[in-house]
């Protein structure tokens, strides 16, 4: 009586995660995706997990769906900066198909969630076939480069408060919830500034009514207002990502 639905409908409604939640995978043709799916392994990403270590050959590429991974650069004396964040719009593991084997960056899970991962040989193999998959990946790589260009300019010329605003907005765009789970210390490491500078900047944004935060949480209250405080970098990167994704 009930339950006459084929297994498909049941599966579709109950499946909590699908590869298509990642925009790069979603951009593939049906055929390509189908061929790739057997090699994709759902993988939980826990906050703080070290996905890539600089100088080591990575074994997998990761397509985040609900998680966010942060790519970092660490200087000799331990100071860090985020070079890019990767959410469901991208992939972690560019170097696997670019040919360099190792990366100079480390990759850390910044927001817990899910990702699909693929073994590096298979990944490279599929990339080398050319076609749409290659095109999608290269375009994304270029979008990533734009992000880094912009970040470099931003680090040089914009204030901590502007950068914080920008970073919060960019992170919001990658998650569903309006509540980000992270400490000020963590954000400080992302932006490569002191924790106190974040406290101060966040204080300003809060008294302006743009965000609200408590121990370990930050919520954006007024996205538009925050955009006005942020530097142009946010908009530039967002538009470029949209342009290259189309």
């Amino acid at each position: 009586m009930h339950k006459r639905g084929t297994s498909l409908s049941g599966a579709a409604t109950t499946a909590p995660h699908r590869p298509q939640q990642n925009k790069l995978l979603a951009a593939l043709t049906a055929v390509e995706l189908e061929q790739l799916v057997p090699h994709l392994e759902g993988f939980p990403m826990r906050l703080g997990d070290l996905v890539y270590e600089p100088g080591r050959q990575p074994q997998y590429a990761y397509f985040p769906t609900t998680s966010i991974v942060s790519l970092h650069h660490v200087t000799e004396n331990g100071a860090t900066v985020e070079t890019t964040g990767v959410g469901n719009e991208g992939v972690v593991g560019i170097s696997l198909f670019m040919g360099g084997a190792t990366t100079s960056s480390s990759a850390v899970v910044q927001t817990a969630g899910y990702a699909y991962r693929i073994e590096h040989h298979t990944f490279k193999q599929r990339f080398d076939r050319g076609g749409h998959l290659q095109q999608v990946l290269l375009r994304y790589t270029q979008a990533m480069m734009t992000q880094i260009f912009q970040s470099a300019a931003c680090y040089r010329h914009h204030s901590v408060e502007q950068q914080l605003s920008r970073w919060l907005l960019a992170t919001m765009d990658r998650v569903v919830s309006k509540d980000l789970i992270l400490t000020q210390e963590l954000v400080a490491n992302m932006l490569g500034v002191r924790r106190e500078s974040i406290t101060e900047a966040a204080g300003h944004l809060q008294s302006a009514g743009l965000i609200r935060y408590r121990r370990g949480h930050i919520s954006v209250l007024d996205q538009t207002g925050l955009e006005a405080r942020a530097c142009e970098c946010y908009g530039v990167v967002k538009r470029e990502l949209a342009r290259l994704a189309s």
Copy 2:
């Protein structure tokens, strides 16, 4: 005995410019290079020439031989930073094969000299054939990303004097002469700092006997000493370029 070589050796010694002076072209197989040569056009690069304009579709890719091109990012209020320099180790026009069409950067000739250029359709076509050319270009792209990662960290964490040292060393590596033709104003734009800051830093380096400069010229006197003053970024990028070029 020796010289049993034919006309080839003669041509090699008299030709003032050869595509092989560019390391990427030199890394190609003989066959690939031969197929590419008919499409390569020798091209003089004059100081200050605007090679690429942000947002415009470039018509050529450029393989510098003796020239240096600087990729810039310009912020809304006109402030600039160099994101990468491209000399004979690279190519200007990544976006042509990455698929994004336009670039967000502008490219300016920083040191006059020579380059070989190739029309963008042909370039893309050759790239899409895969093979060694593609591999070489992608590897270079990755090296370029490393440079930008490092620059971002550098802009955040290192002093103007360190950055100036680094930049001078990197530039020296790309030219034959020990005498760089550039003003302090120009260098300031590269590093995204005030001209006065460069005057000050250069003054220090000069009194330490590491460099010598006069109106429009800077010469490096003590490369090793300069490396000691520079931040790690110089060495990191140099090693990575070497690694990925091999």
